[in-house]
Symmetry: C2
Subunit: 476 residues, 2 copies
């Protein structure tokens, strides 16, 4: 293991090193591609499972659309193609021949899916359609960054069709809440929840909602988006249904996605100078047992106890690993599991077996104490929950102490440069004012409140009456 | 719903109709692509879960390699590229520009993965690597058939590296046994298990093992393959490790895959003139409750009971649906759920509520009987198992009664043409004899025994001493 750069001194270097040293991912041979290694993929699998259970509980079903589509099909919704065309990869040859018509690799699947919905939806009785798929998409990138920005990434994309504006908007918010549960209550990432400004909307949406988290360098990361598509795609792909009165109407749509980028968010929200710190729900291993011994006799005593403890914890549904590698010393193992962010480490030597105790060390709080074996085992589920709480509290404190209210243009211009963080101020809703701040600060509006409000003040740029309180920040 | 062609009269037409009418899948807009609809995808998700649990129980971890690779990388293993190059799709443009180097869409990932293994494997302590990925691959097809042959398909591909020939061969067989459990014990498809003849081996393997099932038209379908790669890929990609004696050795490899084709196998092994018949483990809905009522009063009585029954079954982990659509009559609903192959249908009218009974109808046996509510609920898990057993027995009977032993060339040539089915006969192991039979019959060797045997007889083509008993058949 190589030493990591410090979080406070070289965050990009720290990120690159921790992704490599913890065995999360590496660059693939094609430019912009990534290999997600088992340890990294396992984190994504846990997020996947947490989301998928909630999608199903809210009435959604999974399906699978193709990877490739005729480029023509992609071009029906004008804003959508304008937004995505520059990022599309194109297949021109297959089976040893040039294709008659080039095929686009999906950058997202609205085009494919709304084209099918035009066949699947005839009557109001066919609605709502509540579908989702877990798949890979491709958006061309020249400068890639593992998990955060790669040409190919994995995600889920939900695509729903409804009989009314009201129902589609409720769906948009319902899925944003599902995301909030997984990002906050599972991944322990506190987020600001809201809409995007029109300039940051998904290409083809009437409204984009988002969750914004703060990383350890105080920059923002968009954790997911849930879009209200209005009737844009139903009109572009002619998705009409017969309402109960026998009239043809266009369906209302939503789409929503959360990607492997979320693994990057977990790394960058919780990591410290020793490496990762993982919330137990997504940790590939939740408890690691490091047996300590010198002789073969000691080894067999300690390993027997370690096996018993492992079996008891596994019975409680806890993911446990015994690190019985003989070629490494305990200190090396401690550092490696700290690097990998495993929530709880149990140290177990012959004296501990004699005392019927375990040494329990918490990765988040760095607390370490001797606990009787039976109490350690029966209390492990609670210990994992406390570790999660400590992680969430720490991230919330960090986020809150780096969020500032401001009331003048100079304040944000100077403040973002010197302190980073999130800046909350009144905005008139006009793109000119937004652009002026972005050009001066490289910060963008991360989110505005879901419901327009009357902030009783004036725009920090133009001084006109405020429409909403925007949160600004530099972002990934 | 449209009427299905009869299985015995027009099997291809029946297949196409049942896939469409049951809402399993449809063609995508690009040639050779497919849209797997929620009902079809749910079957695949169940197979996925059954396999994934077993992969993890046998020590494997999931990871994810990229979709795209430089065509150069693909070309290191000579046989492999020769086998797959004609099927590769190539990306030549990305981000609005022509790429400096064209990228191949993976047809399978040995090249990408063994290239990485050359970095991941240094010492015998790094072995074995037991990894798998669930992903899409693309093999160009001009004539596609939903689930069975499409350009893009979904599968899992396991890729393992070992320190010895023995260990790699054991892994090849271990994964074949995992497949057998899922194909036979879950999907209720009886299979012949064995090796492929050299001409049917995976391009780059020393040995390919397989499970072969018989479809309702008596044709064979290869359900999966598990390959022993020898040192072919470790030599092509230079994957060497230091053994305990300090010497460099090449690693030994396996790869193994099972795809969405298995959904086609489930359809074609069990279907009958009414539609699908699904084993309960992969049925999206295991029990459907059809409430029967005329008045609003009856409706509320019946629906209350239906809800109670549903809740009781859900508590037992059974997937239940109440079909409360008012626009369809019960008879229409019965036919639709029969078409969709749901194992058990419960009919429930006001008189049944009065008698505290349920009418339980079995899709496989067509038996229908009145059962007291509490017995029906508490016995449902067993009823599902009996339904599975009836399916498996029926498929086994069908397969066995269409498998013939033969001893002359004329027998198979005439027999395959008139009766179809599987033909078991002695083979000398020589490709000339194999080709001669294939040219005369369009049948291929589906499998030979795992261990070479002495069949005490002579090759049915050339009359030389027999090396093994081959099973021949026409195949999908």
């Amino acid at each position: 293991m190589n030493k990591l750069p410090k979080v406070s001194e070289d965050f990009p270097g720290w990120y690159q090193a921790v992704v490599r040293e913890a065995g999360l991912a590496e660059n693939g041979p094609a430019r912009g591609s990534q290999i997600i290694k088992p340890f990294g993929w396992s984190i994504w699998e846990s997020i996947w499972r947490e989301l998928d259970d909630r999608f199903k509980a809210t009435g959604h079903e999974n399906m699978m659309f193709p990877l490739l589509m005729p480029t023509k099909l992609f071009e029906a919704e004008a804003q959508h193609v304008e937004g995505f065309a520059p990022e599309v990869a194109v297949v021109t040859h297959g089976g040893g021949e040039e294709l008659e018509e080039p095929l686009a690799i999906r950058p997202t699947s609205e085009a494919l899916i709304w084209d099918a919905y035009s066949r699947w939806i005839q009557s109001y009785r066919d609605l709502p359609l509540l579908y989702n798929q877990w798949c890979n998409v491709l958006r061309w990138e020249k400068r890639s960054r593992l998990f955060l920005r790669t040409s190919e990434f994995w995600w889920q994309e939900g695509h729903t069709a409804h009989a009314s504006r009201q129902e589609a908007w409720e769906e948009t918010l319902r899925m944003l809440e599902v995301y909030r549960e997984v990002i906050e209550d599972v991944c322990a990432i506190p987020v600001y929840r809201g809409r995007k400004s029109p300039s940051e909307r998904f290409a083809g949406a009437d409204e984009t909602t988002t969750l914004e988290g703060m990383m350890r360098d105080t920059k923002a990361l968009q954790c997911c988006t849930s879009h209200f598509l209005g009737q844009n795609f139903s009109k572009a792909y002619n998705v009409q249904y017969l309402n109960p009165d026998g009239e043809q109407e266009y369906a209302w749509g939503t789409s929503w996605g959360l990607s492997t980028r979320s693994v990057g968010a977990v790394i960058m929200t919780h990591g410290d100078d020793k490496g990762l710190r993982l919330p137990y729900q997504v940790a590939p291993t939740q408890v690691v047992i490091v047996p300590i011994y010198r002789s073969d006799d000691e080894r067999s005593t300690v390993m027997e106890r370690a096996d018993n403890v492992r079996n008891a914890l596994v019975k409680d549904g806890i993911r446990v690993k015994i690190d019985d590698r003989d070629q490494f010393r305990p200190g090396y193992k401690f550092a490696e599991w700290e690097l990998k962010g495993i929530p709880i480490r149990i140290e177990l030597g012959p004296r501990d077996v004699g005392n019927d105790e375990l040494i329990v060390a918490d990765r988040v709080t760095s607390e370490k104490s001797a606990v009787s074996t039976s109490v350690a085992v029966s209390g492990m589920a609670d210990v994992l929950k406390s570790s999660w709480q400590a992680l969430y509290d720490d991230a919330t404190r960090f986020r809150d102490s780096n969020t500032y209210d401001f009331s003048t243009f100079e304040e944000i211009a100077e403040g973002i440069e010197s302190k980073g963080g999130f800046w909350r101020g009144i905005w008139c809703g006009d793109e000119t004012c937004e652009t002026k701040v972005t050009e001066a600060t490289k910060a963008t509006i991360r989110t505005v409140p879901l419901d327009k409000e009357d902030p009783h003040g004036s725009c920090i740029v133009c001084g006109k009456a405020g429409e909403e309180t925007a949160i600004w920040g530099r972002a990934y």
